[in-house]
């Protein structure tokens, strides 16, 4: 669980208002949350740095939403402590709420109102200066490309548009941290990519730190500067996606060489970047540092020695493999259990997950 900061997180440039902090924006220390004897979050500690995109990756029921709810002061902590932007979530909930933006997993818009009306309602209850509000709403709605639909009722929006509006709304009151709970849940792949673009852009242009949860590997990989893998309420790994993947021991190259004469294995092992060579039934398995760069070198050696390569397969480890390695199972066949079952029933009963692409 090395916390290498390869993410290029800048040092805080602007000093912040009272209670603010130049250090990490979110500090969680031994967070615990229990529900009737079921431990949903079990001693979670981490820090989110200023301006980074930090992700919580884990299967349903791992404790992601519970953690976000505690950080946003929606759930009381059973144990541990957390500070958001220097404010304690337990003792200064109002200060925390003023400094965060929150996009829920489930839709939370008034569909009878127009997009603009939803924005201005939010601005007013968050006490955005009336003088700057109109301008700010326009800026954000243009950014998520909804300005030309501002006067349409939200019930005429598609699922992706509603999500964009919620993200824009979450940023209206200039929060320092934006919490996104499963930002692309239930959206089609194309819309998902679009949302990713907006999140990246907002992170840069609005100078906002982003904390998101997801159970999509690609999402964590594509968006996050650092990822914490969470399972059964515990963080099992935390690092940049690149470091997490390379911690598995690099890429794997599978070679099929019909006539691997004596000395051929040794020759391959001598190629720079190749760590080990193993003979398997289907062929040779090479553990290499960077598959894309090593393969041409392997071909050079093969040609020099007159060996014929029949086929080559490159396997780059994904976060899926990382998850498998740290939890012993695949994220896709993680069984829904405990609290999550409860939550799913709850979800069905309340007709959530109505989001359509």
């Amino acid at each position: 669980m090395a916390a290498t900061g390869a993410s290029g997180v800048g040092t805080p440039a602007t000093s912040t208002s009272a209670g603010g902090t130049d250090g990490p924006v979110v500090v969680a220390n031994g967070l615990v949350r229990k529900f009737d004897g079921f431990t949903a979050v079990d001693g979670v500690s981490f820090e989110v740095r200023r301006r980074e995109v930090f992700g919580f990756l884990g299967p349903n029921g791992a404790g992601k939403t519970t953690t976000i709810s505690m950080l946003c002061t929606l759930l009381k902590l059973t144990g541990g402590e957390a500070k958001v932007f220097g404010f304690d979530v337990a003792t200064q909930p109002d200060a925390v709420r003023h400094n965060i933006g929150l996009v829920f997993q489930d839709e939370s818009l008034d569909e009878e109102l127009t997009g603009y009306e939803n924005m201005s309602f939010h601005g007013r209850i968050y006490k955005v200066e009336p003088k700057v509000m109109g301008e700010r709403i326009e800026e954000l709605m243009r950014m998520v490309e909804l300005w030309d639909r501002k006067d349409d009722q939200v019930k005429t929006y598609s699922g992706g548009m509603k999500r964009r509006l919620e993200i824009a709304r979450g940023l209206l009151h200039h929060p320092h941290v934006l919490f996104l709970d499963e930002p692309t849940l239930g959206l089609d792949p194309q819309t998902r990519r679009l949302i990713w673009d907006y999140i990246r852009e907002l992170n840069k242009a609005q100078d906002v730190t982003i904390f998101l949860t997801t159970h999509y590997m690609e999402e964590a990989d594509a968006l996050c500067d650092r990822v914490a893998i969470i399972d059964h309420g515990k963080i099992v790994a935390l690092d940049t996606p690149a470091n997490l993947k390379s911690s598995l021991g690099g890429d794997v190259v599978l070679l099929k060489i019909p006539e691997c004469k004596e000395g051929c294995m040794e020759a391959l092992a001598g190629v720079p970047g190749v760590r080990s060579v193993k003979a398997q039934e289907e062929g040779l398995m090479l553990a290499v540092d960077k598959g894309d760069r090593t393969i041409p070198l392997i071909f050079d050696v093969a040609r020099e020695r007159g060996m014929t390569i029949e086929s080559v397969v490159l396997k780059i480890p994904s976060l899926e493999d990382v998850f498998l390695r740290y939890t012993g199972r695949s994220i896709r066949d993680t069984k829904v259990e405990g609290l999550d079952q409860f939550k799913q029933r709850h979800t069905m009963r309340h007709g959530m997950g109505r989001r359509h692409g």
């Binding site: 709420r97 489930d106 839709e107 818009l109 009306e117 309602f121 209850i125 309340h350």
Partner: protein, 271 residues
């Protein structure tokens, strides 16, 4: 303090926008009281006054409504009914907001729960009061006559205060119930169960004196009765009413205060 007021206005404003967008639904909901007024008013007139266009003081003496004709006697009851239904069912807005997630948006915001309750209550009352006033106006078109014993201006003012208190009290009751009941079906069922008896033993249809004693004592614990009676004071005159108007209004005021406290308390608990 001013943030409380501002937040309340913000929440109210949203309710007004929603109300405006669903105005056709609101007008449709007025069909029921209009039917009551037209059908019952006409039939009661036939029944008790032998088809005469007005009361027949020197006639058979059959009319249970005293010096007031049946149609005019029904007006306070139907106006109160419109307000009662409109107010109490507006509590369903809380359940809608919970269901569609918007409640979360409000609860996470740095806004006091009291402001949310107050804003929603103002929204519910607005539509109920508009309904009540429309029915009152319509009743004159179909031949109801107002015979207040108070000066006209005072009667109008007190009638408005009555509608306001009645509406606010029942909106708060609706919000209190919606804070506890999470399903729409459940809410509608419980409210119907409450509303119908309240309406029927409120003296909306028949004077208190005609009811058996046990029913009369039930009537006295029914807040709806005081609303109907206060309106009767204002519309039909004090001789048609059971209690002096100030007594009716005092009870309604107390009822509204208690319901407000209950609604705020239960709403705060409901997260």
């Amino acid at each position: 303090m001013s943030t409380y007021v501002r937040d309340t206005l913000t929440v109210w404003n949203r309710e007004l926008i929603r109300l405006y967008r669903s105005k056709s639904r609101m007008l449709t909901s007025l069909m029921q009281p209009i039917l009551w007024l037209v059908l019952f008013g006409t039939v009661f007139n036939q029944l008790f006054t032998g088809g005469a266009s007005g009361p027949s003081p020197g006639g058979s003496g059959l009319s249970p409504f005293g010096a007031v004709d049946a149609k005019s006697f029904l007006v306070p009851g139907i106006v109160a009914m419109t307000v009662l239904f409109g107010s109490i069912f507006s509590g369903i807005g809380v359940i809608f907001d919970r269901e569609f997630g918007f409640l979360k948006e409000m609860l996470v915001a740095p806004v006091s729960r009291t402001s949310i309750v107050a804003g929603k209550a103002l929204g519910g009352s607005t539509s109920a009061i508009i309904g009540g006033v429309l029915i009152l106006g319509l009743s004159t078109l179909i031949g109801a006559r107002f015979t207040p014993s108070l000066p006209d201006a005072v009667a109008v003012l007190l009638a408005f205060v009555t509608v306001l208190l009645l509406s606010f009290g029942f909106v708060m009751l609706g919000i209190a119930a919606a804070s506890k009941i999470t399903s729409m079906e459940g809410f509608q069922m419980v409210m119907n169960f409450l509303v119908m008896p309240m309406f029927f033993i409120s003296s909306a249809f028949y004077p208190l004196a005609l009811m058996p004693n046990w029913l009369q004592s039930l009537t006295y614990i029914n807040p709806m009765f005081y609303g109907v009676d206060a309106l009767r004071n204002c519309i039909n005159g004090s001789s048609a009413a059971s209690l002096p108007v100030w007594q009716d209004l005092s009870v309604l005021f107390g009822f509204t205060i208690v319901m407000t406290a209950l609604a705020v308390h239960l709403f705060r608990q409901s997260e």
